[in-house]
Structure formats: structure tokens, C-alpha cells
Symmetry: C2
Subunit: 358 residues, 2 copies
């Protein structure tokens, strides 16, 4: 049977003070009252049954996840005691699904993006399921067809095409986030995709790869599933590593008996990684990207977010290319060019004012 | 007997959102829990009895004034039904004091400044009282000895000195706010003072001037004092005009039988007219003028005011020469150079979001 695991970990400090330690960006109801998590769930409607959708998240967020996805059985929320990078979310999920159905095919999807059109996403995911079902040793990764020489994503270099799936290719190489000139070259060749960090595989195949590559991890996640009471004891012993480094890159060399296959995803991919990317998704008001009650005088190019509520107004005068975020417990102001430095500020706030503000 | 009237009108939109329609700047407890009004009151301690101190303010603020000045008898708060410029505060106060004591000498003082040292202020005010007591037709105005070619104040041009009061001069001319070059010239001559908008005169003398210059006003304020129930009916009929235009300038020509006399005030005069001037009175934190819980990363030259409270933090990154003000109901962000345009923004806020935010 087909399963989908939504990966919704992450502390989300890059959107502070909207996102907080207790409320990461995936849970912020920024999109007409819906969160990125909710959007990720709704992208799956019609594709798999809610009983076959799991969410892997931080334990602290499990209640909020359950509240936002009331359709899910409560046993489908995997709450990590601590964040230990993407491999362990992937490994634990695979073991949990395999215990239910040894033949399960699992899609691992992210909840960091706004994706349109949803139809196209569903078509690609269906193709990826079909590839994994027909090719038992396939580790399928979704590759976003790039629309710009983006330097914020890793890239997948396409290899030979698969005869039975038009447009689907082996992945020849994983590339780190490139310099601008390199990204432009990638784009020009037409042979590269953005690495979406979304995967489809048989749970058993993934676990078999881990048996070879990281046997402690493979054994530990099976134990956690068999003896849930030992989660807190065992989870922290897992090696902190990304799924690309741990599995996909080694497997793409062909040395593990698996094949890495890329399925193209020709969608508009809006990664909500920071305020600049969030801005593209907000309403435009006289040249500023705004949310909530705001009033601007001679201001332009700004991102102005009023998350305090309707009894508050954010006013700006003569402001250009700045970020203003107001929440009940914190206000942030910075030139947009410095908005990527939010993590630094959060560290400073935590140090000088206490963890409750971080 | 000596009386003092503290003028504390004004809607204070220039410090929005700190100041609001319901809470003008004079009532903001910005200075170690004390407001400008409270500071103005405390400057008078030892000079006149609290029973001889009146406050002329907007009626809407009367309760707050009473709360901040519990020493005052409640009958000493004159609540204007609406703001009708400085002359009418002056005229009504003079009539009210004259009704208590026809020989009263009244000082009209402002509550818009932080003044140091207070001793020096008291010495000048005492001299001004003595001048008005000894010279029955004197309209005494206090002139701040200028320390810079400030273009934000009107200036007083000194005339001949008074033989019996060293340093005290007739005022030859009232000058509007000058251009920079003109202000520099004024400063160089040593013959000009800043117009402090503070006055001392016999109540009867001021009323006599009004009988000549604005007889409707003179008659009306006497009626209001005699029949307080008619305040709401009569006050709005008073001509809206400043005391300088209505009385001081005409009288300085000598045509009204009065003499305009200037008493120097050699004090540090910090007018809290806007955020730039408020900034000088705030704490310095790494090159920014701050109040409340704030955390700044690579920011300088900013004015950052957190008036939300201790459960809120205002964070800035890479911000230079900007104003950030956070209150529970509004946030304001602007380059400091635009901070004088707050009134425009408030008008816009009022129009688009409603009067409750203004």
C-alpha cells in the first residue's frame, strides 16, 4: 500500500518572531488561515487515505499538528524527542510504516513550500509511486524543474532516462548549493533539477540500504518501533546526518545495489525559508508585501507583517526595502538585506533576554 | 498673590503611537515613571503653594491630570471642551484666577520640556514674578538663552535693558522660526532668545489687553468663569489664535499701553516636540537611544522605544538612523528623517483604520 510521511520538523528561527521555539514555521497559519503543514496535507487529498498519512515532527509540536490535521489518527503523528536531521525522520518513519505493512511504498514529503498547481504535484508523486512499485530497488527523488539559477538549493544532475517512464531519469550526481555562475550553467544545460528533498521508496528498500550504510541507525529505529517506551533513550543515540549524505549520494554511485531515480516536478515551488521568500506569497499593498492591519506612507519594497491582531496597526513612513514584523511578544525591524540574519538576533535575544523570547 | 497655570493641552500626535488622542505627550510617564506634566509641577515646588497651581488641559485628560497631580485641589483643573489654541487657555486661566484674587500675578508655564537645572528655572520665574509685581503693565515673557541656531523655535529680539532688573530687557520684536542662516545670525549677535511660550503678568493686565484687542474673548471668558454651566456653549465661540499673535506682538509695539518684557532663562531646554528631541532624553545603548526591552544587532543611530511592556522584546538587525516605536495597539517604523511626518501618518491611519487607532 501507499503511505505518505510529511516531514515537519525544524525550529523555524529564520521566521522569528513569527516562528518560535514552540511554533515552527510549518505551523504558522499564514495562508488564509492555513499553515504550510495544512497545505502539505491538502496536497495529498485524493492520493492516499488519511489513515496512510503520517507526520514526523518535534514532540513539542505534536498537539498543534493534531489540531491542524484532525483527519489523522493520533497514532500517525511521530513526535521526535529532539531534532536529529532528516535521515532519522526518514528512518524512523520507514520502520514505523514497514511494521504496519512490509510491502509499503512510502513517500517522504516536505512542508516548507507553497506549491502550485497541486494537480501537477499529484501527477509527479503518482509517477514516483509507480516507479518505486515497479522497480523494487529504486530510491526515487523528486526534482523540481528549475525556473531560475537559484543558489539556495542543491541540484540533481540527470543521468540516463528510464525507458518505461518518459521524463524520468537516473540521478547521476548530487550537487551542493552552487555559486551564481555555476547555477546559471546548470540552468542552461537543462540537465539539472532542484533537489526537493522529497523521496519515494519501498520502506523495506530504504531499511535495507540503512542496514548496509548505517547499521546502528537501522537497528535502532526498528527497536524504537517495536518498543516505543525506549524512544527517549534510543533516539538521541542516532547519528545526526541528512538523508542525502547518508543514503542518496552513496546509492547514486550504484555501489549499494539500489538505483537513484529522479522524477521531475514541473511546479511553482515557493520555499518559505525566510522573509524574502515569504514576501512573494503575501498581498501587495502599494508596492509593499503586507499581512494584517498596516498603513504605509511613502513606503515601498517593504515586507510588513502585523501578527498582533486586528486591534493593532503597523504604520510606516518613508520606509524602503525593510522588514517589519510585529507579534504580541516581539517586534523585528531590519533592512530586507539583513533579514537572513534573524538567527543571529535570536541567539542574542535568547542570551540577553531569556529563552522565553526565542 | 502668585499663581501658576500649567498649560497641558495638545493632542500630541507628533509622538504617535506613544501619545494618542486619549493620552497626549504631556501625560506619558516617560521619565522614570514621571510625565512632562509631573515634571512641570515639580519645578514649581517651593515657589508657589499647590492650591495656587492650576492646570489648563483638554477635558478628556482631566482625570489623568488629577491622578498625576494628586496635590492639586480638583477645582484647579480647567478642562477645555476643545482645543482652541493658546490664547484661550491663557484668557480663561486669567479670568479664573482674577475671580479668586483680582490682584493675582499669574505665570503661564508649558509642560512640553525637560528643563535643567530646576534652580535656575525657579530663579528666572521668581524674577519674572517680581517684574510683573513691580511693573503693573508688564507682559513678561521668558526667553531661553540659545545654545544653538535652532530653527524649530520662534525668537525674541531684545530691546533696551530695564535699569532695575539686570539682564531683563524689553522685547523689541517677535521673530518666526528662522531659516538656518538667519538663526546663525541671531545666535552670533547675542541679542536673541528662544521664545519659550511662558509668560507672567497680572491677571487684570492681561484681561485689560484682551478688552482692547479681542473684546469678545475677554467678555466670554469672564462669563464662563461666572457661569461655568455655559462652558460648552461659549468656549467654541472663542477665536482660535495664539497668545503671541493676539497679544504679545501687538503689545510689543507699545500701542496697547502695556510693555513686553523678556526675562532670560539660562537653562538646558529640551523640548519633547518629537521623537528626535525625545531621543536625547533616552538611555544610550550601543549607539542607539532606547527605552524598554530592546535587542539590537549591528544597529546604530536609532531610536527604539518598547512601550508594550516587559513581556515584549523589540529586535533590530543592521538598522541605521531609524525610529521604531512599539505599543500594544500600534507599531511605528520610519527613518528618523521622516519622524516629523507622524501627523500625516496618523491622519492616514485615522482615515483608513478608524479613529480608535489615532
Amino acid at each position: 500500500m501507499r503511505y505518505v510521511v510529511i516531514m515537519a520538523g525544524g525550529s523555524g528561527t529564520r521566521l522569528w518572531p513569527l516562528s518560535r521555539q514552540g511554533r515552527p514555521k510549518q505551523l504558522l497559519e499564514l495562508f488564509e488561515g492555513r499553515s504550510l503543514l495544512r497545505l502539505a496535507y491538502e496536497r495529498l487529498i485524493g492520493l492516499v487515505d488519511p489513515g496512510h498519512i503520517l507526520v514526523c515532527t518535534g514532540r513539542a509540536y505534536a498537539d498543534d499538528v493534531a489540531a491542524q490535521l484532525p483527519e489523522l489518527p493520533s497514532g500517525n503523528i511521530l513526535g521526535e524527542p529532539e531534532g536529529r536531521d532528516s535521515l532519522n525522520a526518514v528512518a524512523w518513519s520507514a520502520a514505523a510504516v514497514a511494521a504496519r505493512d512490509p510491502d509499503a511504498v512510502v513517500a517522504m514529503v516536505t512542508a516548507d513550500q507553497v506549491i502550485t498547481p497541486v494537480d501537477e504535484f499529484q501527477r509527479s508523486l503518482t509517477t514516483a509511486f509507480e516507479v518505486a512499485e515497479r522497480r523494487p530497488m529504486a530510491l526515487v527523488t523528486l526534482g523540481v524543474v528549475p525556473t531560475s539559477p537559484h543558489t539556495g538549493y542543491g541540484y540533481l544532475h540527470r543521468g540516463e532516462g528510464l525507458a518505461d517512464f518518459p521524463g524520468v531519469h537516473r540521478v547521476a550526481e548530487f550537487k551542493e548549493k552552487p555559486a551564481r555562475a555555476v547555477a546559471e550553467e546548470y540552468l542552461a544545460t537543462g540537465e539539472y533539477w532542484w533537489n526537493a528533498g522529497m523521496f519515494v521508496w519501498r520502506a523495506a528498500t530504504l531499511l535495507g540500504q540503512l542496514d548496509q550504510l548505517l547499521p546502528h541507525t537501522a537497528a535502532t529505529v526498528r527497536t524504537i518501533v517495536a518498543e516505543p517506551g525506549r524512544l527517549d533513550e534510543l533516539f538521541p543515540t542516532l547519528t545526526k546526518i541528512s538523508v542525502d549524505y547518508a543514503v542518496m549520494e552513496p546509492a547514486s554511485t550504484g555501489s549499494t545495489g539500489a538505483e537513484v531515480v529522479g522524477v521531475p516536478l514541473a511546479i511553482d515551488w515557493r520555499d518559505v525559508g525566510g522573509f524574502v521568500s515569504l514576501a512573494e506569497l503575501l498581498a501587495d499593498d502599494g508596492g509593499n508585501s503586507v499581512q494584517g492591519r498596516t498603513v504605509s506612507l511613502d513606503s515601498s519594497g517593504c515586507v510588513i507583517i502585523n501578527a498582533v491582531g486586528d486591534d493593532h496597526v503597523v504604520g510606516t513612513i518613508g520606509l524602503s526595502d525593510h522588514l517589519v514584523v510585529a507579534t504580541p511578544t516581539a517586534t523585528l525591524v531590519a533592512p530586507l538585506a539583513d533579514s537572513e540574519r534573524v538567527k543571529e538576533l535570536v541567539a542574542l535575544v535568547k542570551e540577553s533576554e531569556g529563552a522565553r523570547f526565542a
